[in-house]
């Protein structure tokens, strides 16, 4: 069991090192593409993005990138428990913040409907 873990960790360490640049290039393309799609949709008036959603999106993406970078970095340092700690301490809040981008408008919409169409702040 111990032997298997050591071999797996060692192979992760060196695979990451070699593909690190490609990983960030790939992530950059994904984020750039995603942002492009959102901006196009907003300009076409297909949906409205509130200012706080932009803020949540930026924080969420930055935290997600930091989580990926630190998770891989700590794996390279052969520090599995610290890498897992980063996953839940940084990755989880990033996902929660990302989810709030959709949840907040939905809650506001429901509250608005429940109050009979009167203006209710989110």
């Amino acid at each position: 069991m111990i032997q298997e873990e050591a071999v797996v960790e060692s192979s992760i360490k060196y695979t990451i090192d070699g593909g690190e640049v490609m990983l960030w290039l790939f992530l950059g393309i994904i984020i750039g593409f995603g942002l492009g799609v959102v901006l196009t949709q907003v300009r076409a008036g297909r949906f409205d993005v509130k200012w706080y959603q932009w803020v949540l999106a930026v924080i969420s993406v930055v935290m997600l990138l930091l989580t990926i970078e630190n998770y891989l970095g700590l794996k390279m340092e052969i520090e599995s428990s610290a890498a897992n700690f980063v996953l839940w301490a940084m990755g989880l809040p990033a996902v929660v913040l990302g989810a709030l981008i959709w949840i907040i408008p939905m809650v506001a919409k429901k509250r608005k409907a429940a109050s009979g169409g009167q203006n209710v702040s989110a």
Binding site: L74, M76, S81, F85, V86
Partner: protein, 468 residues
């Protein structure tokens, strides 16, 4: 709506915050009297790059009473006087216990003490050159080669010594000018046991060693202090024999470089004077603090910005003029007030649990005259005898004993250097991320033998200047 943050206001605030962070990171917003180490070294001495949050300061973060401080005798440390401090009989008993335990653990196949671990110990300690007062003295001098000796400004000399030392395998390099009433007191008054010869300064041209004393010329007042990296990874297997190979290999490398440095200075046409035994010339951590290589910590050893506590230090002095480097501040002294991880994890409870450093020494093995976290060195040595090695747990659990791959380490170190506000939170987070068990290695020593991709010598030589 009144009282609500508009999009425009938000963007403005983000803009200001971004500009402030940028200015702060360049050191423009630094405190008065404090210079940015990276900037100063680049302009004045062009030494190795430092992180932006490492600040040059006029006085080290360790308070020093130079009047109270006297030159210390090396043999007063527990390296030279352990039998005196704990009694002859107990000393013999403990030394025997160490031998018995090592044999017992090897026979029982305790991880980290097995025959392969013992074999590594026997191998890694081999190759350390003889440590001589003026070095090997075999390099040809410019005179012997028929050329004039090298001449340069103190700044130029500091640069070439740094470059040479990096090539030889040193991690960081700094320089201290020995002043009679201050920094010279960091050079030992007497060399290690058994010889205990006095180390004296005289107004002569070339120093010498005879049966009674070691003589350093007054003009050899330029002290070179350098560190070598220790393996952060291997130290995690302490207190076992395997873990202790971190220090064994580091000392082998340190004193190989030491001899090479003596040779380099001789081949430039100058003289150098240093230790005759391991750690035998001056108080390494103190000289390193004065040279700006790190700050003194709760370990009563230095913590460096680049490698944390994972370094070994050596120093020698020369008549080659060298521009001194300044002490640094990157928040360690304050951080150690909140972080007691090393002291709590120390199996012998030898490290100070007090919040603040003290002027009171713990025993004759401590050098008085400075405010530090003095350690119970005898208790520490007693545990060494029990575990059979030089332990190293306090180094391995230190939050600064980390590699440099994850950016969080640099963010955390930068935060500690900038404010004390988050120190307690960061200590708690470190303990959650890097959990430790008392008297246990952080990792299973058997795993180390199964990793076929370990770093050469256990260290990442890309760290330091190139990656900053």
């Amino acid at each position: 709506m009144p009282g609500q943050l508009t999009r425009r206001q938000l963007l403005k605030a983000i803009g200001f915050a971004g500009a402030s962070l940028t200015l702060a990171s360049t050191g423009i917003l630094g405190a008065p009297g404090v210079t940015n180490a990276a900037e100063a070294t680049a302009k004045a001495q062009e030494n190795a790059k430092r992180y932006w949050w490492v600040k040059n300061v006029d006085k080290p973060t360790t308070e020093i009473d130079w009047q109270q401080m006297q030159r210390f005798r090396e043999w007063q440390t527990t390296r030279g006087s352990l039998a005196k401090y704990r009694g002859e009989e107990f000393n013999k008993k403990m030394n025997q216990l160490q031998k018995d335990n090592l044999l017992k653990f090897e026979k029982e196949g305790v991880p980290g003490y097995t025959t392969k671990d013992m074999a590594l110990k026997e191998a890694v300690g081999f190759g350390q050159p003889k440590i001589q007062f003026m070095g090997p003295q075999t390099a040809s001098t410019p005179e012997e080669r028929g050329v004039a000796r090298y001449e340069g400004t103190p700044e130029e000399n500091a640069k070439i010594v740094t470059a040479a030392l990096r090539h030889m395998g040193a991690a960081t390099v700094g320089f201290v000018e020995l002043e009679t009433d201050t920094t010279r007191k960091l050079i030992y008054a007497e060399e290690p046991a058994p010889s205990k010869k006095p180390i004296v300064f005289e107004n002569i041209e070339v120093g010498y060693e005879d049966e009674k004393k070691l003589v350093i010329p007054e003009k050899a007042r330029y002290t070179i202090v350098f560190t070598v990296q220790m393996s952060t990874e291997l130290m995690k297997y302490g207190p076992t024999v395997l873990g202790s190979q971190t220090t064994t290999l580091s000392y082998t490398r340190l004193y190989t470089i030491y001899a090479q440095l003596h040779q380099f200075i001789r081949a430039l046409g100058y003289n150098s004077y240093g230790a005759t035994a391991i750690n035998g010339f001056g108080i390494g951590p103190a000289l390193a603090v004065m040279a700006g290589l790190g700050e003194l910590s709760r370990l009563n050893r230095i913590i460096t910005p680049e490698y944390g506590p994972m370094v070994r230090i050596a120093a020698l002095t020369t008549d080659l003029p060298l521009a001194p480097t300044k002490p640094i501040n990157f928040g360690v002294m304050d951080f150690c007030k909140d972080c007691k991880t090393c002291a709590e994890m120390c199996p012998s409870k030898a490290l100070s649990m007090d919040r603040d450093p003290s002027w009171e020494i713990k025993g004759e093995w401590n050098s008085p005259g400075h405010r530090a976290y003095f350690e119970d060195s005898v208790a520490c040595r007693n545990y060494w005898n029990q575990c059979g090695t030089n332990c190293g747990i306090c180094f391995s659990v230190c939050p600064y004993a980390v590699d440099d791959e994850a950016s969080l380490h640099r963010i955390v170190k930068g935060t500690i250097a900038s404010t004390t506000m988050f120190n307690s939170v960061l200590v708690s987070a470190d303990r959650m991320a890097f959990p430790a068990q008392p008297e246990q290695p952080l990792k299973n020593p058997e795993d180390w033998w199964k990793d076929m991709n370990l770093a050469e010598m256990g260290i990442d030589t890309r760290r330091g200047g190139r990656r900053i």
